[in-house]
């Protein structure tokens, strides 16, 4: 109400309070439109306006929002990478092994991502096979050694001429038999 005089502002206030009085229509006050609160255009359609009271769904919506965020954080880059690989590189085609050529172990797989994984991350199947064979051989040798050890124990205990199962006894040469050597000493 900056550009209006005091009287005009009082008249506008009075019109706002009682808009149905004869001297208070919009045309009389000229300058600004007074908000007519009883004749406002209500745009609620044909339903009754309700004030719905329900418990807060803030926590549920926050959970779903965070879930979506953290899933898409890695999901979208992975989806882009996989789509890009499938479109731009594409799966391999089966071909005959050329003469005198030994394919690398990753060249036996179809999908480019599988090939990358077996090339850079996994050991070759030949190496895995050899590792397993080495483990089997070591275990076999351990088992054989344990069996021979039992066998050797048995023999040494029986015969008594081996280094094991020796009971330390007195040395006969160090025993002084002079007190008992003659009957009437």
């Amino acid at each position: 109400m900056v550009g209006m005089s005091a009287l005009r502002s009082v008249a506008a206030f009075a019109a706002r309070l009682s808009p149905l009085k004869s001297g208070n229509t919009a045309a009389n006050l000229l300058t600004r439109a007074i908000p007519r609160t009883d004749k406002v255009a209500v745009r609620w359609g044909h339903g009754k306006r309700l004030f719905v009271i329900k418990p807060s769904d803030y926590y549920d919506r926050r959970f779903l929002r965070l879930l979506q965020f953290y899933i898409l954080l890695t999901g979208v880059p992975v989806a882009i990478v996989v789509t890009g690989v499938n479109i731009f590189i594409g799966e391999a085609e089966l071909a005959e092994v050329p003469e005198g050529y030994e394919p690398e172990h990753w060249e036996y797989y179809k999908h480019p991502i599988t090939r990358w994984i077996t090339r850079n991350i996994y050991d070759s199947p030949v190496k895995d096979y050899e590792k397993m064979m080495a483990a089997v051989q070591i275990e076999k040798e351990k088992a054989d050694m344990r069996l021979t050890q039992l066998e050797v124990r048995r023999h040494m205990r029986q015969q008594g001429d081996g280094p094991w199962f020796q009971v330390p006894t007195l040395n006969k040469e160090l025993v002084d038999n002079s007190p008992k050597s003659s009957p009437d000493h």
Binding site: G90, L94, P103, P112, Q137, D144
Partner: protein
Amino acid sequence: MPADYDKGAYPEPPRQTPVVDKQTALPNPALILSKLFYYSVDLPVTTFRDAVDSIRAKNKIVYYHQKFRRVPDLTECKEGDYPCYYEAEMQWRRDYKVDQEIVKVIQERLRACQQREGHSYQQNCAKEIQQFNEVTKNFQSRYGDLGAYASARKCLMKQKERMMAAQAQNA
């Protein structure tokens, strides 16, 4: 485009398209629908495929079928030679997988034949049925009830039982 399937194993039935003998001026709805399908589905899909193939053509890669060398069997291993046992076991596992795939192929052929022939499959697919029965009977007798922890030793023992039963029957 990927290679076509084996036409000898999955023969196509003879075509039965009737001779067009149009006697009305009305449009043929089957023709309209087929053209609709062609323009709305077939053409976009084919152009997309061709576009993607032209992009992929620059980075073509190939893969090969791995052939494993034959190693001595479980029967040819000396007793206590565990590395030999391991190699024989791995070879047996590979052979088991191959046999499973063979059975799947024969099953697929029988299924395709039945689908092709419709209600008269019992007489028209006699060859496929006989092949299927033979293959499944052999598979059952060799790998039948070995279970989830099947191994080369158990298979060998099963073979021994089979041979003993055959000998008892012959004697």
